[in-house]
Amino acid sequence: MPARARPTSPHLGIYRWQIGNSLSILHRLTGVALGLGLLALCYWLVSLAGGEQSYAAAAKVFASPPGLAALVGWTFAFMYHLLNGVRHLLWDAGYGFERMPRHVSGWFAVLGSIAVTLCIWGLIWAGHRS
């Protein structure tokens, strides 16, 4: 063990909240949420393989109010994690580090994922009504 405590990462407490660290934390949060979504995807696939009855039971769970809320949440989490993930990949490739592209791409990821989520569920809702 080192003689004195070494700084550990990530130490969230010392940062002022701003777009950079907020979006980084949101990336992790959506990632963990999507990890839970993986369980739901697995449940859906297993119910499909199990036959008509088990699929109907799963469909009922997903169509319930908490089920729908989770699906909308996972849609947003997926879109955000995807858009912000591409942002991270571009950084890894060495692009977009300056203040302007960093902020613009960050807001694009947030607003884009909200817009796509609304579009998808608007389409589903419209299709359901007609």
């Binding site: 992790r28 963990v32 990890g35 697995c42 696939l45 499909l48 393989a49 995807l82």
Partner: protein, 126 residues
């Protein structure tokens, strides 16, 4: 003071124990997931309905089954890498860390295995 070279540390015995392996695997699986997840999302949205017969017919189609299998495998791997990192960062007691990492690993193998088996059952019609 270690006599180990910086290269040696990075190649496998730094504080992360596996060099850049975890980081790189996360990026590679992320790149693979961009087309796979988008394909999955657009396929489901393009289906006329999500009832049993329609979804089953779609997943029985060889290309759909194959891509769905790849998706589930890479997704589970990527989720495993990501959630492992979260546990490593936030769970500090050694016992809890080992326990939760072990649990995480078992759950991911279970979920990935069950999903792949389900897709194969649909694809081969059993």
């Amino acid at each position: 003071m270690s006599l180990q070279s910086p290269l040696g540390r990075v190649l496998g015995l730094g504080s992360a124990k596996d060099g850049t392996g975890h980081w790189w695997a996360q990026r590679v699986s992320a790149v693979a997931l961009v087309p796979l997840t988008l394909w999955f999302m657009f396929s489901l949205l393009a289906l006329p309905a999500l009832d049993y017969a329609t979804v089953r017919a779609w997943l029985s189609f060889p290309l759909s089954g194959f891509l769905a299998l790849l998706l589930v495998a890479v997704l589970t791997y990527h989720s495993y890498l990501g959630t492992t990192e979260v546990i490593e960062d936030y769970v500090h007691s050694a016992g809890m860390k080992v326990l939760s990492l072990l649990l995480l690993r078992f759950v991911h193998v279970l979920v990935g295995g069950a999903s792949i088996f389900a897709i194969m059952r649909v694809a081969f019609g059993s």
